[in-house]
């Protein structure tokens, strides 16, 4: 039994037919080819799969694709401008060396943007607390925290 969905992904209308147990991350990666969203733990604890659904950061391994029917989804591939100019948060991660292996990075950036949307002037303590849902094994978070603060300042401009 298949489920038919309509949603918007990175500004484009998408129609898809999926097995009911298909997760949103599986739809994105396997059917839409958006492999920038990564699966790190399958259980909603590492945050590598974070995307935006209707403007909120959501762990896409914890959501059935069917639950995103009608939703507006933005993934890491949808952040940069049409000419390739990176989103200020992406740019801040590069400038601050907020990534090493790059695997958690896409989810980290999506969470960071959501964090700043909710806390435009977040303190270091708030940034650290808000990043609880995203694991990074490479950076020790030091430069991620710096990047989020710098990205927040750039987003405010």
């Amino acid at each position: 039994m298949a489920v038919t969905l309509s949603l918007t992904v990175n500004g484009k209308a998408v129609n898809a037919t999926v097995d009911p147990r298909t997760l949103l991350v599986e739809l994105l990666r396997n059917q839409l080819g958006l492999t920038g969203t990564h699966v790190g733990c399958d259980t909603g604890q590492c945050g590598a799969c974070t995307v935006h659904v209707d403007g909120r950061a959501v762990k896409s391994c914890n959501l059935l694709a069917a639950q995103a029917n009608g939703a507006v989804v933005v993934t890491i591939e949808g952040l940069a401008a049409a000419d390739g100019t990176m989103h200020p948060m992406q740019a801040a991660f590069k400038e601050c060396h907020g990534l090493q292996c790059g695997f958690c990075t896409t989810g980290m950036v999506m969470s960071a943007i959501d964090l700043v949307n909710r806390h435009p002037k977040a303190s270091e303590a708030t940034i650290r607390e808000e990043l609880e849902g995203n694991l990074c094994r490479c950076t020790g978070y030091h430069n991620i925290v710096k990047a989020v603060a710098q990205g927040a300042a750039a987003m405010a401009k």
Partner: protein, 789 residues
Amino acid sequence: MGANEQGVIGKSIRRKEDGRFLTGTGQFTDDINAANQSAGVFLRSPHAHARLRSIDASRAKAAPGVVAVFTGADLEGVNGLPCGWLITGTDGKPMNEPPHPVLAQGKVRYVGDAVALVVAESIHQAKDAAELIDVDYEVLPAVVNCVDALKPGAPQIHDQAPGNRCYTWALGDKAAVDAAFAKAAHVTKLDLVNNRLIPNAIEPRAALAKYDRAEDAYTLWVTSQNPHVERLLMTAFVLGLPEHKVRVIAPDVGGGFGSKIYLYAEETALVWASKRVNRPIKWVAERSESFLTDAHGRDHVTHAELALDKDGKFLALRVTTTANMGAYLSTFASCIPTILYATLLAGQYTTPAIHCEVTASFTNTAPVDAYRGAGRPEATYVVERIIHQAAVETGVAQDELRRRNFIRTFPYQTPVALTYDTGGYDACLDEANRMADVAGFAARKAEAAKRGKLRGIGYASYIEACGLAPSNVAGALGARAGLFEAGEVRVHPTGSVTVFTGSHSHGQGHETTFAQVVAGRLGIPVENVDVVHGDTGRIPFGMGTYGSRSLAVGGTAIVKALEKVIAKGRKIAAHLLEAAEGDIEFKDGKFTVAGTDRSKAFGEVALAAYVPHNYPLDKLEPGLNETAFYDPTNFTYPAGTHICEVEVDPDTGVVQVVQFAACDDFGNIINPMIVEGQVHGGVAQGIGQALLESCVYDAQSGQLLTGSYMDYAMPRADDLPSFKVGTKVTPCTHNPLGAKGCGEAGAIGSPAALMNAVHDALAAVGVKNLDMPASPHRVWQAIQSAKRA
């Protein structure tokens, strides 16, 4: 060094690789798919130790979408997974090396041991079918603790390892140590457990194996830190395939920390099976599989004794360690608690006599192998914890006791086999003291006490042996492989350069650092240099990335290739400039006739090499493409001092790291930003070990109790402070870059620094000896026990 090199080397150039990672266009193994691809799932043992009475896969084979099911019985002619390091015991015999079958044969020996491979059209069908395999297990008693495994009557895991002993091995002069203890003014004794860790790279292991019937050739995409090593072990030792028919690609890899060095069962089974089903097969570990089957780290139980004279000079160190190998020997398991551990027990100190005996045992747990630091954090933990304790007992200040014993003349031959080429330990200690504002600690402690908190400060002055390794030395110590590195510099006709390196980057930023090395030496823009790694079909035979070796060894191989490029360029330029070769100087990207303004740019020489119209073809081959293999002449010895400050809440047992300062000597630094990032990450992993992380198996059932992120406490952003990181430089004396390596230092120094701080804080309430991790539960219990005592 020319002006251009000065402009590139030592600069925090932003990383070339970041663009793809930040826009979601990186290519990790699971992002790659092949036409007609099938999905692989491994059925794993739910028991820690059991005899396989029978396996009936008939229902699974008939399930929807199933392509094939393979068990150990099907793998005829397939050898076990090899161990790459032979340890010879104190009895003169080789270590016990029981078979490590790709799929279980006769018995399963840990929870997660692979029993069958199911190949199906989809991952869901493969998972459903795996549940239909009927395995009749005769459950046997299990043992998970490395000391318990050696006791009489412990469950016997392998017929080939009586008493579950892999080896007992020793290093050092026992008689000299005994003599020194006999005349000691003071002896400090300490029992330590180095807690078992699960690496947890955020990218789970994955593999995609593709067989090409027309060519009788295989391609394997795999999460590996060293694709050539992976291929060599798989083809030559396990599957008996010719190497030229197997291409191993390690594309973007999402963190390794050691766990992706090894040849694992999964990719080996996939490669073998891809020919049998004549289809590409992909397997991606779920996080639970990562917890169960990635090679774990640490897991030592140690008794140590330090002898001091009346002035606090160390006379001797005596160490006895039991190390857990897990159920089977992983690729480098045997050398971690021996060659990479006991040799580091001199630390930064002149201790004249050291003896270490290590017994390695098999248990019903996942194999244990190198994890960031690999033996060196364990050694540092022993040395720095016992020095802390000795300072407490003798009433000497922590930094002062260390200073009284620092090595200050180089080269220095330690009593445990290594020769340190250079170092400057006082400088790092002084700077760390300054960074940590140790002078202000007493005031901070008093202020904390007013709030009811216990403050403590802890030191760790670590050393590590990196730049693995001189092949002849490693070979004499039991290595079954060379440890050189390869680099190829391919200059294109218009003067841009592609570098092919045997090192592998999985977060370390080689694409930037190596490009800086090349751009600096050739005097060309960094943008004109690209670095290729991770593909046996493109790069020269290299040994990969581990042991903080990439810049010191892999970078040097590139420098050696560059030297050949420049030497040939000088010949070409001499011809073009009608000068003697000996008069040609190369500087700032130009070949110049010495003492004149006549010169040829590097790009002009490159073009001449590929369009050799005016070229000494009778004496010189066209082209500008050089390869070098570099085998180091010594290890490198990064060292430094880490100072950790903690605040303990005695009511809850919560330990907060309030400050962490690290001053390290990595030799010359190419990109300070990347180096600092490596230290941050290493320190976070070390703090994770000391404060949060602990792999726990149930002692009776052998079940992994910490098998998810809900049970295994990974450091999260709000567990950690921002770090203070500094460096001092004594250049390595035996490689042209003067580089020592920085990848592991953070994880090596920090656990001891943190635990020493915790002990300093808890001394006020009478806690004497606490093992890692200093979780609230354990700290609170220790405080209560001390109160009762």
